[in-house]
Each structure stands twice: as structure tokens, then as C-alpha cells.
Symmetry: C2
């Protein structure tokens, strides 16, 4: 079994390659739910859905999230009622949120609903939410003139405010009291390889590691853990990692990633553009594997997945 | 003020004429909520929405309900999750249900939410739900071979089962303990005229009258109450009135309507095709006014509204 700690778009792209490199049923993704939020009363799990839609071959390949060919008629219609519509819910995508919300309200756990949803999409790969308890990633940002810091939910900062307010700190509300979802700790303990996907280390992998027991479980497998740097040549491939890593004291580079994961993984895959920094990564106690890490298509993703798995041996 | 007891499509069409005959702000519609139901966790109020969309000029004129130009992509997408999708929710229409559901869950009353929704659509006419308490119209139908009677919610019988199971009885769950919504009793008591719209007497007007206090309030204004027969030449213009009136002991005709409303209204508008039955209506103690009652367009609806109002004087 290959266990993969996964955020959204970057993780989904790697997983798409991973399930070509090994049988899809041998992959278990442990997915960040810190971005989960409620919009118009609906429980939305952005990362679970991005991974599901991607593995189902139904994702919008241009944006990396949402469903291909989706429309936003319902979301636009909500404007009439004066509610915030900056988080764009697609008409087809809404079905997933309606289904999830109703099942959760009926008492199902997020793990159970996720199994139902991935089953409905025909996935052989298992997706485990990191926790069935709500954990909410909160971005603390500088307020305006004369105002104190503001606490924004992740989607509010990322989508609603376009990552513009400078970040002061990040916290994971609810994490301390959350339990890892069923199977999560066992899957990590028993996996042949644990892959830390090329996701944002602060707000995609960070919340997973903040659930009590998960960081320790990964650290115990350090020799079998391989991470793929989401930073190439000092910039994230996608998303706001640069706006988070700097303020939180990490260099925005594969070296910064190496430092963030030093206690967790013995191997870090870095991009060919970062070859000159391999020595620095290795001085931090990790083995650096240099490879093309830009997943331009499923074939490139498969190649990267094979390199990552081979690196662990 | 003109108070109008209203169900769905037939009522909406009359109201569209009424607001051309008198200032829209002088009309208050008291609307059936017995058809309200929950689909995919969303609170749906079919009659309130039909009246709102019709008065806003946004209704789908072909079907009489839903929004013109709406699509059903989300509803179709729900099939993947194996949930019943026979109640077709439009993509644009969903915005209304999402808004209503969230506001109700936040503690707003249905009256308050209805005021917000009608305000968002720019209506000057006030819509009052008959009650802020849930009342559910239940159709008791014959079961299959060897099975006892079945209790179906109204939409389940009407849409889900296409009115096919023969009706044994109708009841209004929750009605006995429900209170008329704020203003309802005062509006009836103070109205210049009370109009009973050409709606299904059993399951559109029936639930309104089943809310404690409303039937008595209407009966006290009997001289100022005018009903319009929804039955023309022995058949309903639209909807399943014939499948309900017969089993419940009413002749499916304007004479049956006259008997159902004898204690409530002094005047009944019947169609020209029913002229020969005017004497029978009058023997029941109501004045019969013969008029063209088929509302083929807004002009015809206005004409009918003017005749109904003039009949009360």
C-alpha cells in the first residue's frame, strides 16, 4: 500500500500519476480537510473533491478544481439574495455538496460520505479525510489602518480575498481535539511507502500533521517517507505557498521544504531547476533526488510518481 | 386591501391579474404551505415560489412553475449519488431554496424569509405563508395488492407518483397545532375583499383553512368573500382536483366548489361553460357570477379579477 498525504490540486495531479504507476486500489490518500467550509448551508470539502474529480477524470483541467464543463448559474442566481458568492459553486458540483451535507446531517461521518462519493465516481483508490472532526485552517492577517489582526477562514483568505492580506500566522482550529479518521494511523503505520504530495506545506500538509498522532506516525516511518517539493526555483507551481512560508519563517525554496519536513521524511524529490540546492537539502539530513517535477500531463505525473517510489526503494 | 387565499399555479395566474386591477401594494396573498417539503436537505415552498416568480414576471409560462429558462444540471447530477431526483429542482431555482434553507436554519421564520425573497424579486405585493409552523398535506392512498393504505406527502403523490394511486383521504399533519402566521388573521379581518383564488379546494385552499382561526376568520367576512371556481365544465383547468374532490365526497363541478365553500363565501364566480349550473350554485346559498374564467393571458386574468372584485361591490 502507498499512503499519500494530500492537499488539493498539486496532490491530485501526483495521485493521477501514482494510480498509473501502481494499481489504483493500492493507493490510500489521506486528505486535508482544513479548507472545508460551509457555503449557503452546504458542507464543502474542496481538497477531497479536487482529488475525487481528478482521479475520476472529471476535473476541470484548466483550473485544476471543479468539474469539467460545469456552469455557475445557481451561484450567480444567489446574488439576487445578497449573499456572498465569491466561492463559486458549480451547478454540477452542487450535487456533491448537497449529497454530502444531507448525509452528514443524517449522522454519517465524513469518512463514510467520502467512501460513498468516491464509490459513486467509481474510484478504486481510497480517500480518507484526515479527521472526521472539523478542523478549520485560520489565516491571521494584518488588519487595515488602525485595525488589529483579522482571523480569516482559509477559503475566505484564498478565494474571497485573493491571498492579498499579508499573513501573520496560521492556526488549525479544532485540531488539538480532533481524532485521526479511522484507518489513517494504521495506513501510515503499515504502508510500504508514505508520499507527501507536492502540496502547500503550511495549509495543505500542515493541517493533516496537526491532527494528534499523525505527525508522530509519519515520523516513525521516516525512512519510508518521500516528499515532493511543491516549490520549483523559489516559487510554488500553483497556489499561495510563497505568501505563507515566508511569514512563517521558511525560505520559499526546496531547502525551506526540506527544513519543514526534516523530521518526517528521509527523501525529498526536488526539481531539476533546483539541482544546485541539492547539497543544502542533504546537509539538512534528507536525501535529495533531482527529477522533472512539473506535472504537465498524466504521463509526467506517472514518471514523477515512479521516481518518488523508486527513491524509497 | 384585497386578501387572497392562494395555492400555486391557478392562484398565481389570478394574482397576476389582480395586481393589474388594483395597486400591487394593496394585495396580500395568504399562501398554502402544506406542499412544502424538504429535498436534498433544502426547504422547498412550491406555492410561495410559484406566486413569487409569477408576480416577478420570471415564471416559466409553459409549465406555470419554476423559472423561465432554468436548467436542471444539478438535479441530474444528483442521480450519480443514487438519491431520488423526481422532484426537479432547477439550477436557478436552487438559489431560492439554498437561501430559504439557510435563513430558516439561522432562526428566521418562514414569514421573514418570504418577505426577504419577495423583496429580492422586487414585489410590492405581500405574500404571507399561512403559518410559520410546518403543516404537511398527506395523501392517503390505496396500497398495492394485499397492502394497507399508504401515506404520501403531497409532492410525493403529485409529482413522484403522478397522482396515480387512488386517494382515500387527505389530512394536514401539524395543522391542529399550527398558528396562523403574523398578520394573516388581521389581514382577513380588515380586508375590503377576500378572494379565494381558483386553486385546488382540497390541497391548496384546504390546508390554509385547516390552520386554527383562519376558516372562522374567513367565514366572519362571508359577505365580502368571493371565490373563483377552479373547475370548468366538470374538470380542473390544471392539477389533480378531480382526483381529490370525488373521493372526498365533492362533485367535480362548480356546484361541488359551491358546497365546499358555502360557509365561507357569499359569491362564486363560475365559467360561462357552467352557466346552466348557476341556479344550483345559488340554491346552495351563494350568488353565482358567470364570467370567462380561463386565464389565457395577463389581460384575461385582469378581467377576471375585476369581475370578482366588482361582484362583491
Amino acid at each position: 500500500v502507498i499512503a499519500a498525504l494530500a492537499g488539493g490540486v498539486g496532490a491530485a495531479r501526483l495521485l493521477r500519476g501514482l494510480v498509473r504507476a501502481v494499481p489504483p486500489g493500492d493507493v490510500v490518500a489521506i486528505v486535508n480537510t482544513g479548507d472545508d467550509d460551509i457555503f449557503h448551508g452546504l458542507s464543502v470539502s474542496p481538497d477531497l473533491d479536487t482529488v475525487t474529480y481528478t482521479l475520476a477524470g472529471a476535473v476541470n483541467l484548466e483550473t485544476g478544481w471543479g468539474l469539467a464543463g460545469d456552469t455557475f448559474r445557481g451561484n450567480e442566481a444567489l446574488r439576487r439574495y445578497g449573499v456572498p458568492t465569491w466561492f463559486r459553486l458549480g451547478d454540477l458540483d452542487l450535487a456533491t455538496h448537497l449529497y454530502r451535507t444531507e448525509r452528514l446531517r443524517a449522522g454519517a461521518t465524513l469518512s463514510e460520505v467520502t467512501r460513498e462519493i468516491t464509490g459513486a465516481w467509481g474510484l478504486e483508490t481510497r480517500l480518507l479525510p484526515m479527521s472526521d472532526d472539523p478542523v478549520r485552517t485560520i489565516i491571521e492577517v494584518a488588519g487595515g489602518d488602525g485595525e488589529g489582526p483579522q482571523a480569516l477562514r482559509m477559503q475566505e483568505w484564498f478565494v474571497g480575498r485573493r491571498c492579498e492580506p499579508p499573513v501573520l500566522d496560521v492556526r488549525f482550529d479544532g485540531a488539538a481535539g480532533a481524532a485521526a479518521a479511522p484507518e489513517v494511523l494504521d495506513v501510515i503505520a503499515g504502508a510500504d511507502v508514505v508520499v507527501i504530495c507536492p502540496s502547500n506545506p503550511i495549509i495543505s500538509i500542515g493541517p493533516i500533521l496537526a491532527v494528534p498522532g499523525i505527525r508522530a506516525a509519519v515520523a516513525r516511518r521516516r525512512d519510508r517517507v518521500v516528499a515532493i517539493s511543491p516549490i520549483i526555483a523559489g516559487a510554488p507551481v500553483k497556489g499561495p505557498a510563497d505568501r505563507l512560508m515566508g511569514p512563517l519563517g521558511y525560505e520559499v525554496s526546496c531547502v525551506g521544504i526540506a527544513r519543514a519536513y526534516a523530521d518526517l521524511c528521509a527523501t525529498l524529490v526536488i526539481d531539476e531547476l533546483d539541482r544546485s540546492r541539492a547539497a543544502e537539502v542533504e546537509r539538512g539530513g534528507l536525501r535529495a533526488v533531482v527529477a522533472p517535477t512539473l506535472m504537465t500531463d498524466a504521463g509526467a505525473a506517472e514518471q514523477l510518481a515512479r521516481i518518488a517510489l523508486a527513491a524509497v526503494g
